[in-house]
Structure formats: C-alpha cells, structure tokens
Amino acid sequence: MAIDNQELIRMYRTMLTIRRFDERASKEFRGGSGTVPGLVHSYIGQEAIATGVCFNLRLDDRIVSNHRGHGHLISKGADVRRMMAEIFGKKTGYCKGKGGSMHIADFGIGILGANGIVAAGLPIATGAALAAHLEGGDKIVAVFFGDGATQEGEFHESMNLASIWKLPIVFVCENNQYGVNTHYKYAVAGGSIPRRAKAYNMPVRSVDGNDVVAVYEGAKEVVARTREHIGPYFLEFKTYRWSMHFESDAIPDMRPKEEIEAWKKKCPIVRFGKKLLKMGVVTEKDLADINDEVMAKIQDAVDYALESPLPAPEDALEDVFSV
C-alpha cells in the first residue's frame, strides 16, 4: 500500500468523525429535546466512500452532495461546529439556520452544497465542472449521489452532457442498494448501474465501498485521470446504510433484518481499524485515543451548537437575493 501512515490515520479519524457526528446528530434528533428540529439522513455505514474519495481531492476541487451529505462535507474539510450548529438551526451554522442538514454548503472550501431533491445535484455539479473546464488548469468536481438518483431524468441528462463536453467530473454513485425501501435491482432496469454509465461512453470503476483503502486507491487513479480534463469518470461503490432512511419512524424500514445485520458486520471502520492494527500503523491504544479525540471534537461541536443563539425571526428576511 502506497499510502503513508499519517494519511492512513487521518483517514481513520475522518471516518470516525463522520460516524460519531451522525450518531450524535441522530441521537439529538431522536431524543426529541428539540436540539435538532429537522430530519437527519445518517451516513453511518458509508463512511469509507466519502473519505476515500475526498482524500484525493484538493481544497480547490469542488464537490456537490445530496440529502445524505454529512460524510461528504466532513471529508472535504467542513467545520463540524458550524455543521452541528446548522443542524441545530442556529445562527452560527453554515447557512445561518436557513438550510439545515440537507443544505449545508461551504463555498470557501469547494463544497457547493447538499441537496434535498434526488439527482438535482448532478446538473449543478456538471455546471461546476464546466467552470473548471473553462478555467483551464486541473481542478475537478466530484458529485455524490445514491442508486436512487440514477432513476431520475436529471441523472441521464447530466451524464450525457458531462460526457459530450468531456468535463472534469467524477460521478460518485454510492450504491447502498436501496432508495428508501426500494431495492435498486427492482428499480434499475437490468440491475447494473455501471452498465448504464458505459452507455454514456464513460469509463467506469466499481469498488467495494466498505474498504476505505480500495476506495482511496480506486479514486486516486480516477481523480488523476480526471485532472487531465479529458472527460468524466463514473465510480460505483457498493455499500449499505445502517440506519433507517432518515431518523424518524415516519417511514418504516422494510429491509430484511438479517441483511442489515450482515452488513453491520462489514463495518468499514472496524475493518479499517483492524487493518491498521495488523499493519502495525496503530496500536489499540492509538485507536482508543483517536476515538476519545473524535468524541471530544463532536462534544465540542454540540456545545458550540448549544451555546449558539437561534436566529431572530426577522433574520428570515435576509439572503433571498444577493447584492
């Protein structure tokens, strides 16, 4: 493995940060104490993907995220304090409390925003890739979306447009196999998402989405090629969502219990931790320390969010237009 040890540890820490962040955000929401007013779509189980992909990105690369976006944002470098504050609906949040969990953005570090409409980020990302193309250089865009998004017309149009214009964009499909309760083998004719990407004349790579090293290595080559600005690339990661579609019983989880349990055994973080131990990169103590550190960071983010003021009602009147 050509990844340096510090980088491996950073990746582990990022994955764990995502995990602890979403555990806490979900708990706060489920607790019903009103700290988190709106729904949270947990990224738990998929941490390896955002981490492995974004570790290949530079600060000036851009990403576009979807409704299940916390992991993408954290991996790209978003500040967990401002994320938590946003989810808590506070004025200090990334969007001053206007967006909430599904709409966090940080344009300063190339996060062009999460999105509440399935597949709607793809056209926007395609436009960002057009910007990168027009700017020249080797900047790229990565757009994250689920298997469900491949069922929307906006997926089709964006794939086609990015391909004919040879735009520097990586389409990152997180195939967690379900859109809410619908299995992709039911909803995607032919049952193969890569096959579809190929029909747009796009190179495709399918990688185990629960193995962060495989994700990182796969994305590395893809990102390097995309930096040449010779066209888009499609990456499919098979994975699984551990939680319900969102943290509320409004929509029951209809997936087979055994399936959920089986995938939990494939935990990307446990797996990566074991690997790091085996490689001698870390000790059990190191892992425990990282966990403590991450827990403290998340607690700090929660404290920050709790202490932050709510927006005033009239703040709602600002930001409809830019000036």
């Binding site: 609906g89 969007c95 599904m102 929307e152 009602p313």
Partner: protein, 318 residues
C-alpha cells in the same frame, strides 16, 4: 360521530374507491403497505424515483380507460414532473378537442412547519391555478378530505389534492356511511356577522382559533373554507361579504401571486361586493421567502394567529 385523523380519512377514501372500481390504479415511489396488502402489487404499483415517468404514465393509463392515483409526496418533488402536469395532463383534454378523458388524481404534501427547509416545504397551488385544465383541492379536515378525494377519484379530469403536512394527525368527525363532497362548494366553517375570513388548508384551523378568541371580545367572524380552488366557489364568498362587508383572506403560501391574490381580486373587482366593502380588504399570507429551516424563522415565514387577528382588527377599524 366517530372521530378519525386526516390520514385515516385519506386511507378510507382510497380504500373505498379502490374497492368500488377495480380499474383504479395507484403509483408512487413510497407505497402504502395497507393498500398493497388489500389490492395487490398490480394495482398498488411501486415506482422508481422517476416522477416524470410515472406522472406521465398516469396520464397514458387514464387515457386508456383506467383511473390513476399518484402520490408524489412532497409538492417540491412534483416540480421534476412539471412538464407532465402542466404541458400534458392539464392540456390534452383540450388540445385533443375533448375526445378522451383523463381521470388522474395526484396527491402532494404542502406547507411549512416540518423543519425540512425550502426544498421540502412549499404551498404551490397558485402556480397550478394559473394552468387551466387542472382541478385543485385543498381539504382542511378529515371529513373534507374523505369526501373530496372520493369525488376526485370519480372525476373524469386531472385533480391535484394538496395535503398540508400539519393536518396528518388532525382528527375530526367522519360518518361511517359513504358520502362524497362536491367540487366548487365552499364550506362555511363558522358563521359570523362582522368579518368574512376566507382561509385555506391548515390556515382554516388558525382562522377558527382566532374567530373563537374574538368571539369573546364580541366580534363575530365568519370563516369560509373554499375547499376547492379550481373550481372556486366565489358565490359563497361574495354572499358572506354581502353580509359582513369586511374581508380577510388567509393563506400560508407566499404572498405574491398566491391564491389569496386571486380571491382578493375576485372580491375587489366585483361591482356589487366592492360597493359593500366597509374596509380595505386584507391578505394575510406567507412572506415572500423560501421556507427557512430553523423554527423561529420558519414560524415567522407563515401567518400565525396574531397576524390573522391583527388583520381582522384592522378591517374592523379596531
């Protein structure tokens, strides 16, 4: 009479109509387990996340002798299928010279208050009101939604039912016996003498609360619920105004070009009503902003009882 929730009333309406006519077919990417168990997967169809396709398919199915029922969930999701609603479903009865019928019921959730921000919260009925060819209903109670949905399923035209998220758990009296409610017939939810308040959807309940509170202050407020926006029962509204001479319309949707603008315009442009108006007519609407996420701002974005009461007081000159 027994009381059931808005959601239960909706379910009863669908169950009864699916039992009544086996050519009624439903499509959604989020299906009701209850309906599926009773009517099977051929009739309760699970779709991919492809709203244009299944809304369009609803039209094709309806034009081929079936009745389509589509649940789009959030009204914001419906925008990805806008061509199929606005260019196709609404117009083809007309464009084809009336040679075919397109019985389609589309359902979608509207409204703020769910803390999901602007891409999940909207009350867009006025956008559809500007598109001739669609019937639009905004039931505010369990009784109304049951009766109106049953009528909708039997109507030979596309109907959109806008269901406010906050109403789901609202309970109300619903008879055991079968009934339907006509389109284009407003319901006077509370009789009064001094002011006419026309309110839509969830705002009916807010208006009623205000009316009750004002009663104690000796003010008699009449609350009119149009129940259907297309067709709109302006007669009932005008009749109420002939009595009260004072007009307030309450709508959660954004103010500009909302349904409230239309209702106010119909009142103001009517010679007879205009002559009888004792005060400047008033709108109480959502502010012209996307619905924000955080509750203090979200609550501020839409009308509340204080704002409704203020408008009522204003037209009363108090």
């Amino acid at each position: 009479m027994r009381k059931i929730t808005y959601t239960q009333a909706t379910m009863e309406a669908l169950q009864e109509e699916f039992r009544r006519n086996d050519r009624v077919i439903s499509m959604s990417n989020d299906i009701s387990v209850e309906l599926r168990e009773e009517f099977g997967e051929e009739r309760i169809r699970l779709t991919p996340i492809s709203e244009s396709a299944f809304v369009g398919a609803a039209t094709g199915l309806a034009g081929s002798g079936f009745v389509s029922v589509v649940d789009l969930r959030m009204a914001t999701f419906a925008f990805v299928a806008m061509d199929q609603m606005v260019n196709q479903m609404a117009k083809i009865t007309y464009m084809f010279g009336g040679q075919a019928k397109f019985p389609v019921l589309l359902r979608m959730s509207i409204g703020a208050g769910i803390h999901m921000a602007a891409q999940h919260s909207i009350s867009p009925y006025s956008m559809y009101m500007n598109v001739p060819g669609l019937k639009l209903i905004v039931p505010s109670t369990p009784y109304d939604i049951k009766g109106l949905l049953k009528t909708a399923v039997r109507d030979p035209n596309p109907v959109i039912c806008f269901e406010h998220s906050a109403l789901a758990m609202v309970t109300g009296e619903v008879p055991e016996e079968e009934y339907t409610l006509p389109f284009g017939k407003a319901d006077i939810k509370r009789e009064g003498q001094d002011v006419t308040v026309v309110a839509l959807s969830q705002m009916v309940h807010e208006a009623l609360a205000v009316a009750e509170a004002m009663e104690k202050q000796g003010v008699s407020v009449e609350v009119v619920d149009p129940r259907t926006l297309v067709p709109l029962d302006s007669q009932t509204i005008k009749k109420s105004l002939a009595k009260t001479g004072r007009f307030v319309v309450v709508d959660e949707a954004c103010r500009t070009c909302g349904a409230a603008a239309e209702i106010l315009a119909q009142v103001a442009e009517d010679d007879e009503v205009f002559r009888k108006l004792k005060a400047t007519p008033q709108r109480v609407c959502g502010i012209d902003i996307p619905i924000p996420y955080s509750p203090p701002m979200e609550n501020y974005a839409i009308p509340d009882r204080a704002k409704i009461a203020a408008a009522v007081n204003k037209v009363l000159g108090r």
